[in-house]
Every structure is written in structure tokens, then in C-alpha cells.
């Protein structure tokens, strides 16, 4: 069931990606729906699931963006692992906690991408800091809104809300 929900979330993220690409081509520079999905999924605390989700979501994002294939997968996997790792130790719930995780995840995501692009392509991302700040703000606001809506209207909790026992 959780994978089905993740798949639905991934399809929605991809739909958003396509819509924004079609109608507002620059919008994805300020907003990343995949990070929201990954953070939402990883807040369940299941590290294994978070890694797999990060890889899948990242590959999908890579497939439909012009980046090196695997770049976003790498960055999202790091984010997913970090969020899931923290949530496996601390039970973080609520919109503010989700927002905090989201802020951290976006920053980590951007930093990882920055480093990888530097290493692999020997290029520097222009106006990286400004872009990161804007993306963090918008992604965080949108993600918190989505989280709030899911909590209020669908009585949703982050996927895999109850931590599983150790082992996979």
C-alpha cells in the first residue's frame, strides 16, 4: 500500500514537472516536487524504503530533465537517507517538523548537486546561493501546504508513520 501511495505521489510529481515544463519553463528552478515526495515518504523512518524511493524518484526526475542521468537520483537518495535516518531516531511529526525536514532536504539536495556538477562536469552553477534560497523557500512553503492539506482533509500521516523494527 505504501508503495502504491508512493507511486501515486511520484506520478503527481511527474505531472507537476511536466505541467510546469510546459507552461512555466523556469518554474522548476524555484520549486522541486520530488523533494517534497521524498521527504514525505522518508519521514516514516524506513531507511531502506527511503533509499529505494529516492533512487526511483531521482531517476524519473533525471529522465525528464537535461541533467546527467543519475545526478538527481544521487542527490535525492542522500536526502531520503538523511531524513529517514533522523526520523528513525527522532519521532518528528507535524507541519513544522515536516517543513524543517524539507528545508534541510532541499539544501542538502542542492549542495550535493553543486558538488557533483563540479566534480563530474567541472562546471560551476551560476547564482547557486540565490537559487538555493529561493528554491528552499518555495519548496518548503508548497510542501507544508500539501502536508497540511493531507493531514487535514485526508487524515494522512507520513507514509510508514509507525517505525518498523530493525532489519530489512
Amino acid at each position: 500500500m505504501r508503495w502504491l501511495r508512493f507511486l501515486v505521489g511520484l506520478l503527481i510529481a511527474l505531472t507537476l514537472h511536466s505541467l510546469l515544463d510546459s507552461f512555466f519553463p523556469n518554474a522548476l528552478a524555484f520549486f522541486n516536487p520530488y523533494v517534497i515526495l521524498i521527504v514525505y515518504y522518508s519521514m516514516g523512518g524506513n531507511i531502506f524504503g527511503a533509499i529505494v524511493a529516492g533512487v526511483i524518484a531521482g531517476l524519473v526526475q533525471d529522465a525528464y530533465s537535461g541533467a546527467i542521468f543519475g545526478l538527481h537520483a544521487f542527490a535525492l537518495t542522500v536526502c531520503a537517507y538523511a531524513v529517514a535516518y533522523i526520523n528513525s531516531r527522532l519521532v518528528l511529526r507535524g507541519t513544522l517538523a515536516f517543513g524543517a525536514c524539507l528545508v534541510g532536504a532541499v539544501i542538502v539536495n542542492e549542495l550535493v548537486i553543486y558538488v557533483l556538477v563540479n566534480i563530474l562536469l567541472k562546471q560551476k552553477i551560476e547564482m547557486f546561493e540565490q537559487g538555493m534560497v529561493v528554491k528552499t523557500i518555495f519548496t518548503c512553503l508548497f510542501g507544508m501546504l500539501v502536508y497540511q492539506l493531507l493531514t487535514l482533509f485526508l487524515r494522512e500521516e507520513p507514509i510508514e508513520a509507525t517505525r518498523r523494527p530493525a532489519g530489512w
Binding site: I51, F69, F74, V78, L90, L120, L121
Partner: protein, 286 residues
């Protein structure tokens, strides 16, 4: 908030490192292939193919919405244009009718003026206000009267021929007795044989010729003109044609004539101010 360490799995960390390693290799391959022209690896193509319905669907929905919106706008535009064209068609149709009317008027008036120029008698152009050809008493009312010089017994004609005579005038209107009226009498002659007779209206749409002897040469189709002997109508105005000429019961023929004027379509007429015979002369006339 703190959770005991035994809850945290260790193997996922190993998996995490392995996955990152694999992804790094994948990225390296991908970044290399970029420089040799191949920008999509097989793996990338597979992922794209798997999820391709989503962008296609989004694109289709966007395109459909865009098409629908533009279709709606086009439809609104077409509806407005259609209404505008309908309005223009109505306006142009009205103008066309007015122009046709004017053209018809012009033709008629021109014909009438040409005809009036042929006449040596002073004349006045008048419009028909009322026309009564349905009853036994055939008459019409004109929009000109004594103020325009029209007098009783003035002859009324148009380009087709004789219409009748003025029987009553006011300052600005006059009444005309048509030649088809039952009480009307006109001195006429047959153009071909110059035989004279009297034309009387039959109260319908025709008239009859009287006082033509049985032995006179009269044939259907013969043109009938005013004779100019009655002191009212000038000589030579076309009146009509003989339709039927039978041998009558007595000394005179029974002749049916069709007037040359279509009394149902008269709009303008010429009133001829004929020279009147003084009353004294009329009184002592034989």
C-alpha cells in the same frame, strides 16, 4: 524523542553506500557519453519509456485544454462575427431594396418625363395617393390640386396611355375618374381605320366601344386612340386595343377593348392642362 540505537538498522547504511556508488558510476558513464554525442543511455531510455504516459497525458490534456479554450474563443468570435454579418446583411438588404425602389422610381419617372416632353400641352406631375379600382366607381386621388394648376376635366395620362380625367379638385388634391369607370365616356378613334366611336367603362377592368357601325372594319388588336372631339382629352393619346369585335344586335358593333394602362400599378401620373371649351360654347353645342 530519542530512540534506542538497536531500532536503527545498520544494513540500510551499507545499501545506501552501494546505491550511491552505483549512481556515481551511472553518472560518470552518462557524463562521458554526453561528450561523444550519445546523450541518453539505455537505462535512461527505459525509465523514460516507463513513465512516458504521464508527460504524454499532461501534454495531451494541456493541448486539449488549449485547443478547447482557443476553440471557445474562436466560436465566440465567430458568433459575434455572425451577428455582425447578419446585421450587415439586413442593412444591405434594406439598402438594396431602397436602391431598387429608387431605380424603379427613376425609370418610371424618366419614362413619364420623356412622354410629357412629347406632349405640347402644359402638364403637371402628380403622385397617386389613393386608388380605388375595386368598386364600380373607378377613381384615384392625386397629391396635386388647384394650387398646381389642375382643373376639373384635365386629362390624366401616363407613359402607357390614357388614365382618366379630373372630376374634383381641392387646393392640394384632386380626384380622377378612370376610363374604366361605368360613367366615363371618351371620344376615341381606331388608329388603323380612323373610325370614331365612344369608349365607356364597363365598371370592371375593361371598356367597350360604342357607336361603331356594323359594317365598319374593326379587328382584334386594333389600337384605339383618343379622338380629341370631346373637349377634354387631347387627340392621339393611346387608350387601348380591341380585344373582341362582334356584330351587334342592332346597327352597331359590340366591341370589347382592353385599356393600355395597368390601373393596378399606377404610382405617378401626368395631368394635362387641356384647353377648356368655354361654357357658352358647350351650352350651344349641337
Amino acid at each position: 524523542m530519542a530512540v534506542s540505537a538497536d531500532v536503527v538498522p545498520r544494513r540500510p547504511t551499507l545499501l545506501f553506500i552501494v546505491v550511491l556508488g552505483l549512481l556515481f558510476i551511472l553518472m560518470s558513464l552518462s557524463s562521458r557519453t554526453r561528450y561523444i554525442g550519445e546523450t541518453r543511455t539505455m537505462f535512461e531510455r527505459t525509465v523514460m519509456t516507463l513513465f512516458s504516459p504521464v508527460p504524454k497525458l499532461v501534454n495531451w490534456l494541456g493541448q486539449s485544454a488549449s485547443d478547447g479554450y482557443h476553440g471557445y474563443l474562436d466560436m465566440r468570435h465567430a458568433v459575434n462575427e455572425n451577428l455582425e454579418l447578419h446585421r450587415k446583411v439586413a442593412q444591405l438588404t434594406t439598402e438594396n431594396l431602397q436602391l431598387r425602389q429608387s431605380e424603379g422610381d427613376l425609370k418610371r419617372l424618366r419614362a413619364l418625363m420623356d412622354y410629357s416632353e412629347q406632349l405640347s400641352t402644359p402638364s403637371t406631375l402628380a403622385h397617386v395617393l389613393m386608388l380605388d379600382t375595386s368598386g364600380r366607381f373607378k377613381s384615384m386621388v392625386l397629391d396635386r390640386g388647384s394650387a398646381a394648376g389642375i382643373d376639373v376635366n384635365d386629362a390624366v395620362v401616363n407613359a402607357s396611355g390614357l388614365i382618366g380625367r379630373v372630376v374634383l379638385t381641392t387646393k392640394d388634391m384632386s380626384k380622377v375618374q378612370l376610363v374604366t369607370d361605368g360613367n366615363s365616356a371618351v371620344g376615341v378613334l381606331l388608329e388603323r381605320t380612323r373610325r370614331q366611336g365612344v369608349l365607356r367603362g364597363d365598371g370592371g377592368s375593361g371598356a367597350q366601344l360604342y357607336d361603331i357601325p356594323s359594317l365598319a372594319d374593326v379587328a382584334p388588336g386594333d389600337a384605339v386612340l383618343t379622338a380629341g372631339i370631346d373637349g377634354i382629352y387631347p387627340k392621339g393619346i393611346p387608350v387601348g386595343n380591341v380585344v373582341k369585335a362582334d356584330k351587334g344586335a342592332d346597327l352597331f358593333k359590340s366591341i370589347v377593348m382592353k385599356p393600355s394602362v395597368d390601373f393596378g400599378s399606377i404610382e405617378e401620373v401626368i395631368v394635362l392642362h387641356t384647353r377648356k371649351i368655354p361654357h357658352d360654347v358647350v351650352r350651344y353645342a349641337p
